[in-house]
Symmetry: C2
Subunit: 78 residues, 2 copies
Amino acid sequence: MPSVSPRALFALNLRRLRLATGLSQEALAERAGLHRTYVSSIERGERNVSLDNIFRLAEALAADPRDLLAPERKAGSK
Amino acid sequence: MPSVSPRALFALNLRRLRLATGLSQEALAERAGLHRTYVSSIERGERNVSLDNIFRLAEALAADPRDLLAPERKAGSK
């Protein structure tokens, strides 16, 4: 069982990947064709994001959609 | 851009992983706490599956949720 919920895990991964690209939530939202407040609520772990939006967000981040489901990283690990 | 839609890709991966476990759609649905007709429609690529259900299906298959988003396999490749 995951130590965090799927929504919390997705939130962490989205935030990590977004910050790595240097995009603001607003810029990411615009690229992905989503609303800024929706992206914000995803990053707070409040949303049960759908498959289509997972792929939209990944494309906007130039990331593999699977990276948004990556397991939680332990502190100190790479 | 993917050559198939996210929903079609998910459908292919779900079916492949389910058949690899030897589970029927009905048995998978029961394990995942979902309805048999819902699993069936996912495998027809008709559903915009949510994050929570992606993780439920993966757990029922003892698979990594990321495997359900794996890119399409070319015929003849491993």
